[in-house]
């Protein structure tokens, strides 16, 4: 049993946090909710974990209705909120025992599930949670969310503020959990993490822009993107923005991602234009679209 969301809307006073959201997460799927701060990701998580009631729409998690069967949902889901929410004054081991007890189980009973992760923090098991590094807190929070062997796991921005090494390890852990038949809904503001999910929903301002596999999303990008660079990036951006045939101009690391509005675009024309603006060392070459390009095109 996965997750089914149908026409969910939620408002806070004048702010529409979620507008008519619908999507399905298949059993055993690793589904990513990709969007910036304020997109509505946390509101959606809170509705699905029965901590908040939607204004409109229905949703089921592991086959249970979020409104009528909320108690069943709480038994069968694990939730790792974006904000570290364990007891800072309890040690690693005490936190884990606490959560196991609450859910009527023991660490031993489901140790197999958390073993891979727990062994990494076990040497520090007598240290208080408040004294742990960001990466260790994240691993402990994941263990606590898993200790009752949930069917569905909700992870709200688990990698925010975590360095690339810990981020990579975290995603490797998620892949292994998926093999143990746990359905995972994970949110992230990092577009590069989208590629690690089976399917993703791009979300902004409370609305879903697109849902598909990461491969299909970039494949459907409507234009050819060019990497452009020159000796002066700021001048290059200004000149590209002023070029009458531009479709989009976005700084992208060491390059500018440029798309042209014409069907028969010749890069040589653009080079000539940029040279006429006194730019030097102009480079232009085709590049593949990324999830972030797609996101910006859809959000435009």
């Amino acid at each position: 049993m996965g997750i089914s969301v149908k026409h969910i809307s939620k408002s806070y006073k004048n702010v529409k946090a979620l507008q008519d959201i619908s999507f399905e997460v298949k059993p055993g799927e690793l589904f990513g909710l990709i969007g910036p701060d304020g997109a509505g990701k946390t509101t959606l998580f809170r509705i699905l974990t029965t901590l908040l009631i939607a204004n409109e729409g229905t949703a089921t998690v592991a086959g249970f209705d979020v409104l009528h069967d909320y108690k069943s949902i709480r038994k069968h889901v694990g939730y790792m909120p974006g904000k570290f929410s364990l007891y800072q004054d309890l040690t690693i081991e005490e936190n884990l025992e606490f959560f196991a007890t609450i859910f009527g189980t023991t660490i031993e009973e489901n140790y197999d599930l958390i073993k891979d992760i727990y062994v990494q923090i076990e040497p520090f098991k007598d240290r208080r949670a408040g004294k742990l590094s960001g990466g260790m807190k994240q691993k402990l929070a994941l263990c606590c969310a898993l200790i009752h062997k949930p069917k569905v796991l909700f992870l709200d921005e688990p990698t925010t503020g975590v360095d690339p090494v810990s981020r990579k390890e975290f995603w490797e852990m998620l892949k292994r959990l998926q093999e143990k038949d746990i359905t995972i809904l994970v949110s992230t503001p990092y577009m590069d993490e989208a590629a690690l999910c089976d399917r993703i929903a791009l979300i902004q301002d409370g609305e879903i822009l697109q849902i598909d596999t990461p491969e299909a999303i970039v494949k459907h990008y409507p234009k050819q993107i060019y990497n452009v660079r020159a000796n002066n990036m700021y001048q290059l951006i200004n000149n590209l923005n002023a070029y009458k045939y531009n479709h989009s101009v976005y700084p992208f690391g060491e390059f500018i991602h440029y798309t042209d509005s014409r069907e028969d675009f010749e890069p040589a024309d653009l080079v000539a234009y940029l040279e006429s603006k006194n730019l030097l060392h102009i480079e232009i070459e085709k590049t593949e679209a990324t999830i972030e390009d797609t996101f910006m095109e859809l959000a435009k």
Binding site: D163, P164, V165, K168, P251
Partner: protein, 242 residues
């Protein structure tokens, strides 16, 4: 020192007891350069930056920032740099105008100058309609753009940015980087500390700290070539994982 080197660091070290949080780092940053200062959590980035902005005394080594020695002239350094962080930026309970006036005052600008700067800044950022609204009510992206502009109010020689664009939507991020390019183009040096590797890709040069030492320093292009990988994230993983 030559006029083009706005940051010069040689053998800079900070010990906490027996632990070298920053272990003899050496580098230079030029005027108008966008310099990325990278490292994992706990690699020593924050400790190093605290020494550079004059709020922590080094244990040994040399450093000059904006032409001033970190040991003898920390107060002069503070007057010549701007600082922006995602965690500490603006006061949510003050309006846009009040925040500008407050920080302008802190930086020692005259009332007349604050008024002029305030008008220009609000127009450039397109904030006319929200100029008298509380900053807390603005979207995150607007706050960050405003916060960056505020850090430049006193025309500092260097601006320090601490993880400036985490969590912001992709389009606003681009606008933010355009602002950074603009500032750099006008001669302001931009010093970015981050552990988001996509931010690193925008920098002219980056250094990567591992366990208190600078283990790599070059342009993103050359680092990718040196480590034979496609992006800065993989450069970082290779260095940090050994």
């Amino acid at each position: 020192m030559s006029n083009n080197k706005v940051i010069q660091v040689e053998g800079l070290t900070k010990m906490f007891g027996d632990f070298a949080a920053v272990n003899a780092i050496t580098f230079e940053v030029e005027k108008g350069e966008i310099f990325g200062f990278l490292g994992a959590n706990g690699a020593g980035k924050t400790t190093a930056m605290k020494m550079l902005i004059g709020i922590s005394n080094p244990t040994s080594g040399k450093a000059t920032v904006a032409g001033f020695d970190v040991y003898t002239h920390p107060e002069e350094i503070k007057k010549n740099i701007g600082y922006m962080s995602q965690k500490f930026a603006l006061y949510d309970d003050l309006t846009v105008k009040e925040n500008i006036a407050f920080f302008g005052g802190i930086y020692g600008l005259s009332r007349k100058r604050i008024k002029e700067k305030s008008a220009v800044l609000i127009e450039e950022l397109g904030l006319e309609k929200v100029a008298n609204k509380l900053v807390g009510a603005l979207p995150l992206g607007w706050k960050q753009k405003l916060s960056f502009s505020v850090s430049l109010l006193h025309d500092p020689k260097i601006v320090f940015l601490d993880e400036p664009t985490g969590g912001v939507d992709p389009i606003t991020r681009r606008q933010f980087w355009e602002m950074i390019y603009k500032a750099a183009n006008q001669g302001t040096t931009v010093f970015v500390t981050t552990h988001y590797m996509d931010e690193a890709e925008y920098c002219d040069r980056v250094s990567i700290m591992v366990h208190g030492k600078i283990e790599a320093l070059d342009t993103p292009k050359m680092l990718k070539k040196q480590f034979k990988v496609e992006n800065m994230n993989d450069v970082f993983l290779k260095l940090a994982r050994g």
